[in-house]
């Protein structure tokens, strides 16, 4: 009994949830989608994704050093950023562009804003948005999936030297969304759900993304209300349009399963830092994103709108948190 007793304030027990374990589990949840990307796009996806992750991690490391902060690599959050960022890119994107976007994603969006917890926007999406603005052609050139020899050869565009225009192999293919937008061609739901389509590295297989998301929801590491609200809004709005004129507007199933909606709704809109705190706020935030996705896809100039919808949602988050607050116990309606 001669030992020193430790004095700490209550509570003296803890749930065991920890930031690093949540982040690590998000990485785990993305693993099936990542492996599927390797399978569909071969070496191109492998190089794109590893370059994305490495550039993000290195940026965080260097930024931390420059700002004199202790290393934050152990919290896994930058690995998620890198992975998500890579998954939103077209495989075959010149690697030097991948690096530029990765530096922007982490350096500009996260490190400069104060690191983990302080970023306003989803870093992965900012990186992608930058590339979309800077390299619109490269960002919309899609190598086809399941190409023969994809495990042994790279698309010629991948290794393009910096500041030179990438050269594409003869075959680039249309994504389901651009096929619909520009040619009025609809892709079947089965192909969309299972991922037998063209697109960004990690957005093609809706089922695997959904599985990863459900894993996180079950472990209480993801707010289910956000994807639920996005999906419900997209289905309701596109369903209404589809009922009005099924030849002009895409079906709700197509809207739900195509493009980056599944990946964005499950893994990027749900980024804890950029989404609202209250349940009510999450429903509003999800609805806002859902509306924007349908509006941009239907009437915008681009075939896809998930990225901008989520970034706009991020921008609205502080306002949503200010306006939508639950009534405090024992108080009158605020």
């Amino acid at each position: 009994m001669s030992k020193t007793l430790e004095i700490r304030t209550s509570p003296h027990i803890h749930s065991g949830h920890a930031v690093d374990s949540i982040m690590f589990n998000v990485v785990l949840a993305l693993l099936p989608t990542t492996l599927f990307a390797f399978y569909v796009f071969g070496l191109a996806a492998l190089l794109t994704l590893s370059t994305a992750v490495v550039s993000c991690v290195l940026t965080e490391f260097v930024a931390g050093r420059l700002l004199g902060k202790p290393s934050t690599l152990g919290d896994w959050s930058v690995v998620i950023t890198g992975l998500l960022y890579g998954l939103t890119l077209p495989p075959g994107l010149p690697l030097w562009m991948v690096v530029v976007g990765g530096v922007i994603a982490v350096g500009l969006t996260k490190s400069l804003f104060g690191g983990l917890g302080y970023n306003v926007f989803n870093p992965a999406l900012v990186g992608r948005a930058f590339l979309q603005a800077a390299f619109p052609v490269a960002m919309t050139s899609w190598v086809p999936g399941f190409a023969e020899g994809r495990f042994t050869t790279l698309p010629s565009s991948t290794l393009t030297l910096p500041f030179t225009a990438p050269v594409y192999d003869a075959i680039t293919s249309a994504t389901p969304l651009s096929a619909w937008k520009f040619d009025g061609l609809a892709t079947g739901s089965r192909d969309l759900a299972l991922g037998f389509v063209s697109g960004s590295a990690g957005e093609t297989c809706a089922v695997l993304i959904l599985l990863g998301g459900i894993y996180l929801i079950v472990r209480n590491m993801m707010n289910w209300r956000i994807p639920a609200s996005i999906f419900a809004t997209v289905v309701a709005l596109s369903g209404a349009l589809y009922l009005v004129d099924s030849t002009r507007y895409a079906s709700p199933a197509f809207m739900l399963l195509s493009g980056g909606l599944m990946l964005g709704a499950m893994f990027m809109a749900t980024d804890m830092v950029g989404s609202p705190l209250t349940p009510g706020g999450c429903w509003v935030y999800g609805a806002l994103i859902g509306v924007l996705v349908v509006v941009i896809r239907t009437w915008g100039g681009m075939p896809e709108g998930v990225m901008y919808a989520i970034l706009l949602g991020n921008a609205m988050t502080p306002h949503i948190d200010r306006l939508i607050r639950p009534r405090v116990y024992g108080s009158k309606r605020a």
């Binding site: 009994m1 030992k3 007793l5 430790e6 004095i7 700490r8 304030t9 209550s10 509570p11 003296h12 027990i13 803890h14 749930s15 065991g16 949830h17 920890a18 930031v19 690093d20 374990s21 949540i22 919290d75 959050s77 104060g114 690191g115 983990l116 917890g117 302080y118 209480n220 707010n223 804890m272 830092v273 989404s275 609202p276 705190l277 209250t278 349940p279 948190d321 607050r325 639950p326 009534r327 405090v328 116990y329 024992g330 108080s331």
Partner: protein
């Protein structure tokens, strides 16, 4: 209503209950320590005023100090013995407080001196309230608020329902559970006293579903009394918090800054109520209380009836502790306070002594990360505050804004937010500090 139709409140957490080690163990009498340390301020309110002096010999149950004003209670000798000293002793908060150092007579029969009995049938409500005050009764659930103060019901705020709190939602603690099983007659008699004192017609006893034997035992003793009912509550922390209990049982919300009286309710803990039923017929005062001694570092865990003033050191030596003991706290692990010294004594408000080894303590030693806005705290706060936002404001020392815009003063420090925070931010501690700062600013 929660799952399975049990009554409950919204939000809250599910910490491991950790009650199995002691819930089946009957209450046992604890021996007298060679020296009892009895602080004069064991309750919320003014400390009691001494009526004895150094060197005096006292009988067990004799009054040592009287109430000072309305929000204060009497203090009685927990043992027959000699008053060795009246001096300063460390309290749980680390402050030095005045205490009576009593050396029990070895080999004494320790018979208890009675006072003026307060018979249930012939006493008026005011007489009962005075008797409760003279018996030194305070909330034994942990708050140690003088019970008689609550019972003085103003004429314009009648109490229709008396709630008896048997929730015992704090992990590790099983004293209320045992009291319900072993002191049913005391409990029911105490309820009669409280009913008479307050004029409350209806009585609801709320018990968490993890104590089915207690609920069954009490129900069996009701004898079809239409006024008293036993309600089973969902096992969820902080179910036993007064506001949460009232909401769960009556569907009423205590207004912000208000009292249960504002919604016609009054809450008393089962141990407090049973103590009233035990003491008043003989006109005795509190000399001891039931305490759970538990936690992984304790060898002989159990529920003990321990004399007030027994030092922690004596208790831990008696029950035996693991050499790896790292943290000892009074009360449960959610709201209990860590003991800064083993010379601290058991007071009327001590419901438990829990000791952790380094293994348990390590789990709360995690690295603190910035808030990642995961909203887990928002999802569990029983008052519907925004702990995440409050935490950020606390970092910037914006205490005024925390109170004015984010209802800081409604926080009752249950600790649910800190319990779930994956960033291990010491939220409750920040809020405690901020509340003090706000109160200070208001006074000056």
């Amino acid at each position: 209503m929660g799952l399975l139709g049990l009554r409950t409140f919204r939000h809250g957490i599910h910490p491991p209950e950790s009650k199995d080690d002691t819930s089946g163990l009957p209450i046992r009498q604890f021996p007298f320590a060679p020296l009892l340390i009895i602080p004069l301020g064991q309750h919320i309110g003014k400390p009691s005023v001494l009526v004895v002096q150094e060197g005096q010999e006292v009988t067990r149950g004799q009054r040592l100090a009287r109430a000072d004003g309305f929000v204060s209670v009497s203090l009685h000798a927990p043992a027959s013995g000699t008053i060795r000293k009246i001096g300063l002793t460390p309290s749980i908060t680390g402050q030095m407080v005045t205490a009576i150092f009593l050396e029990p007579f070895p080999g004494s029969t320790q018979e208890i001196a009675g006072g003026k009995p307060c018979p249930l049938d012939t006493s008026t409500p005011d007489e009962i309230i005075a008797a409760i005050r003279d018996a030194g009764v305070v909330g034994l659930g942990g708050a140690a608020f003088p019970t008689h103060v609550k019972l003085k019901v103003p004429a314009d705020k009648p109490v229709d329902t008396l709630i008896i709190n048997g929730a015992e939602c704090e992990p590790f603690l099983t004293t209320d559970h045992r009291v319900m099983l072993e002191q049913r007659d005391d409990l029911f008699l105490g309820i009669r006293y409280l009913q008479k004192a307050t004029g409350a017609k209806r009585v609801v006893i709320g018990i968490e579903a993890n104590k089915p034997d207690a609920a069954e035992h009490l129900r069996a003793g009701l004898n079809d009394d239409p006024d008293i009912s036993v309600e089973v509550l969902t096992v969820k922390y902080p179910q036993g918090a007064e506001k949460m209990l009232i909401t769960a049982l009556l569907g009423r919300e205590v207004p912000s800054g208000g009292l249960p009286l504002d919604v016609g309710a009054l809450c008393n803990n089962v141990a407090t109520t049973a103590e009233i039923g035990r003491l008043l017929p003989q006109g005795r005062g509190i000399q001891e209380r039931v305490v759970t001694i538990g936690g992984p570092a304790v060898k002989h865990k159990g529920n003990y009836r321990i004399p007030v003033g027994t030092p922690l050191r004596f208790i831990l030596e008696h029950v035996g502790v693991d050499p790896d003991v790292n943290r000892v706290f009074l009360g449960g692990p959610m709201m209990g306070q860590a003991a800064p010294s083993l010379d601290i004594a058991i007071t009327k408000g001590t419901s438990g002594v829990v000791a952790f080894t380094e293994t348990e303590a390590e789990r709360t030693h995690q690295q603190v990360y910035p808030c990642i806005r995961c909203a887990h705290c928002v999802d569990v706060c029983p008052i519907f505050l925004n702990p995440s936002q409050l935490g950020l404001l606390a970092l910037n020392q914006e205490y005024g804004r925390m109170a004015d815009e984010f209802n800081l003063m409604d926080c009752f420090e249950c600790g649910s937010c800190s319990f779930v925070c994956p960033s291990h931010i010491p939220l409750v501690q920040q809020f405690r500090f901020a509340k003090k700062a706000v109160r200070k600013a208001k006074v000056s």
